[in-house]
């Protein structure tokens, strides 16, 4: 196995240190290390963070390999500094059986760019009617701990209650896509001033908030834990804050795009801004940033949702919802949280690695950068400034809302258990 000596990396933004990677683990950390290594990396000016963990990735395989595959998706993840991603269940077929989740998990292991932790569907076919074999998925090689019908809300209160109760048996968590379906029939964008003017069907904040309110109460009632996917409104923040104050086991994630973009962008009718939940208002963006800073929101999760060009190169109403995000997540977080002084790099490591790993109960990820720990590491250059060009992305799709925007920072290198997946900003072919 290749050994690496990383010189002068600022671990969590601290003072420069050398890091020695041997046999998949951190072998030594300190100043001016005098140890042998196959490859030495000058990390002067680079921030070292634990390998990022994404709770919310759409890898599309099986079924929509024209949008993304496990290979292209994990290469994209590595380029974004991720060492583990949770692959959402809304594939074709749906990941609602042990067979499908094992296949996805194995593909991730085989390619070796990033660990793929499949998310199991809560209900059969994401139909919201009958519980999927949650236990079988947990017991499979994939060891599923996170269950979600993401893309669809588990809106039936009884099904949700049963799912929350059932996964307690194996310390699972239900990740809810909070969207009251009746309140969002025909919804195209955030309901507000802009939707009124544009004549696009509104997706009201209350459709998210009412489900979150119900689910935190349900989770408290049955003594289980619930995770809120892509929380997007100021009202949702208030509910989660209240639930946490009660001591209930509620966690929540926010996407990078909800930390930066607002529904004003929809005025262009460019479907690259079409996403679910929709881009909200500037006031929501501000509330989300604050909540991420104070820990009310536990994690940044990309909701990386690749779509082929034709699904976006069309009129708004028929366009697919979603944005790619793996390769820009850390840059967006730097811009919105670090450069604004809301979060330091330690905080970034917590929200993008430690806490998401803990929510997903991943044992080999989200660990501290210390001797003996698995060497999952990202070296990030926060001084870099560049214009986002989706054509250079490793993901198969190009639907990035940041196209043409100036974003700070760039992933310099990513290590998965001591093996480089990205070096000098380029993928390492494996």
């Amino acid at each position: 196995m290749t050994t690496y000596l990383i010189r002068n990396a600022q671990i969590l933004g601290g003072s420069p240190q050398d890091i020695h990677l041997v046999d998949g683990a951190f072998a030594a950390i300190g100043e001016n290390l005098d140890v042998p290594a196959d490859i030495e990396i000058d990390a002067t000016g680079l921030v070292a963070l634990p390998g990022l963990v994404d709770l919310h990735t759409h890898l599309r395989e099986p079924g929509r390999e024209d949008a993304e595959t496990v290979l292209t998706g994990t290469r994209s993840a590595a380029m974004g500094g991720y060492t583990a991603v949770h692959a959402m269940a809304n594939t074709f077929p749906v990941a609602d059986t042990a067979g499908v989740v094992e296949q996805v998990w194995r593909l991730g292991q085989e390619y070796g760019y990033c660990d793929v932790q499949p998310v199991g569907a809560v209900t059969v076919g994401l139909e919201g009617k009958q519980l999927a074999e949650l236990g079988a998925m947990h017991d499979s090689a994939a060891g599923v701990r996170v269950f979600s019908d993401d893309g669809k809300c588990v809106d039936d209160a009884v099904i949700m209650r049963r799912a929350l109760e059932y996964v307690k048996a194996f310390d699972g968590v239900v990740a809810q896509h909070a969207q009251e379906p009746r309140l969002t029939a025909g919804a195209q964008m955030n309901e507000g001033l802009v939707s009124g003017e544009l004549g696009l069907g509104g997706w009201p904040a209350v459709a998210e908030e009412s489900i979150i309110a119900r689910d935190v109460l349900l989770a408290a009632h049955v003594g289980s834990r619930v995770h809120i996917c892509h929380l997007s409104t100021a009202g949702s923040v208030e509910i989660v804050r209240w639930a946490k104050a009660k001591g209930w086991d509620v966690t929540a994630e926010v996407t990078p795009h909800h930390l930066l973009l607002t529904d004003e962008l929809v005025r262009s009718y460019d479907p690259v801004y079409k996403v679910n939940p929709p881009l909200r208002t500037a006031a929501d963006v501000e509330a989300l940033r604050e909540a991420l800073a104070d820990g009310t929101i536990d994690a940044v999760a990309t909701d990386h949702a690749p779509h082929p060009a034709e699904d976006k190169d069309c009129e708004w109403a028929v366009a697919a919802m979603g944005m790619v995000g793996l390769e820009t997540a850390l840059s967006v977080v730097q811009q919105t949280m670090v450069d604004t002084g809301l979060l330091n790099w330690e905080g970034v490591a917590d929200r993008m690695s430690h806490r998401p790993a803990r929510i997903g109960r991943l044992t080999g990820h989200g660990r501290p950068i210390s001797v003996g720990e698995p060497a999952n590491l990202v070296l990030f250059d926060p001084a870099y400034r560049g214009v986002v060009n989706p054509e250079t992305f490793a993901t198969r799709s190009r639907n990035s809302p940041y196209k043409g925007m100036d974003l700070p920072g760039r992933v310099h290198a990513t290590f998965l258990r001591g093996e480089a997946t990205v070096l000098a900003g380029e993928l390492v072919e494996r």
Binding site: S195, G199, L200, Y269, A317
Partner: protein, 330 residues
């Protein structure tokens, strides 16, 4: 004027008056033996209709033919569009056919804007109604009709005139275009509707809002009744047809409370017995038929002003807008 007519908000006061004054000149044509002008000879105008609309389509077609344009009708039914062809491919096809302008009616809000902002085709895009967004030529013909009745004469606007727009504002592209244009022309607009049929955020629009039709009518110079689709009832926007027409329908008694000079307008098609009773619809104060005739003149004016002269790219204006939007997002 911009190269496209996508939203009534694209029109400045001068643009709007230029269109109305031009339309006034062109209206004379309908009295002539030869109702045709050679102005757009050799120009190709495509009517791209993804939604059935006999009256708007016919109106545009008459306007195009009176200006001697070559007219191509491209309707979604029975075409490749119904076989799943994308808007993009349709647009590329029209571009290849050399369309100088595309008149588009689409069920999706924003489809004309998408066409205008894309590089799929280079001709002018004229919005003939998109989803629940806008219908700018309808607003122009409404303003034209109002001006003729309330402040006739070239160069005149609608300053201080009070216009009530009544009905399903939420789903109305006519209301959206009218509020922009009428405000630009100085009129004071009041939306009258049950709260369920008003968009969220209406309080920021440049208009008044009232839930009470009877309180508004004695002060109006014009009242515009919007069609209310019966299907809305099923989505609980209002309880019953009878209750709707009792609270928000225009009948003879209500008409009598309006000032004598005030006119009754309707973009059509009317649902008699719902938002308007037959006696009001047939009264001489109702301008529905006149609006249809005015529609041809106004659409001729728009076509002439967008297509009659040299075409100048307004690309720089567009890129400025994108920057603005991105900045707004920061």
């Amino acid at each position: 004027m911009k190269r496209h007519l996508v939203s009534a908000a694209d029109l400045s006061r001068d643009d709007a008056l230029l269109i109305l004054d031009t339309a006034e000149e062109l209206a004379q044509l309908s009295g002539r033996a030869v109702k045709k002008l050679p102005t757009l000879r050799g120009r190709t105008v495509v009517n791209l209709f993804f939604e059935d609309s006999t009256r708007t389509k016919t109106s545009f077609e008459v306007a195009e033919k009176r200006l001697s344009a070559d007219v191509i009708n491209f309707s979604a039914k029975g075409s490749s569009v119904s076989k799943g062809e994308s808007l993009k491919d349709t647009a590329l096809t029209l571009q290849a056919m050399g369309a100088d302008a595309v008149v588009i009616r689409h069920h999706a809000s924003g489809a004309p804007a998408r066409l205008a902002d894309s590089d799929w085709l280079h001709g002018s895009v004229i919005n003939a109604g998109d989803g629940t967004h806008e219908h700018p030529t309808q607003a122009l013909l409404d303003a034209f009709t109002m001006r003729r009745h309330l402040n006739p004469g070239a160069g005149r606007d609608l300053a201080g005139r009070k216009v009530a727009i009544v009905g399903d504002i939420l789903h109305s592209r006519v209301a959206r275009s009218n509020v922009h244009l009428l405000t630009t022309l100085g009129a004071e607009v009041t939306f009258v509707a049950p709260p369920t049929l008003l968009p969220i955020g209406i309080e920021t629009w440049p208009c008044q809002v009232s839930y009470d039709l009877d309180a508004v009518l004695p002060k109006v110079d014009a009242v515009m009744m919007l069609r209310v689709q019966r299907e809305r009832m099923n989505a609980a926007f209002f309880p019953t047809e009878r209750e709707y027409s009792r609270r928000y329908g225009l009948n003879g008694l209500r008409l009598a409370t309006m000032p004598e000079h005030a006119i009754v307008m309707h973009p059509g098609p009317m649902v008699r017995g719902m938002e308007i009773t037959a006696d009001v619809a047939d009264s001489p104060r109702c301008t529905v038929v006149e609006q249809v005739a005015n529609g041809v003149s106004v659409r001729m004016a728009v076509l002439y002003l967008l297509l009659g002269g040299a075409v100048f790219a307004d690309g720089s204006a567009d890129s400025a807008r994108t920057t603005e939007l991105l900045e707004a997002a920061q």
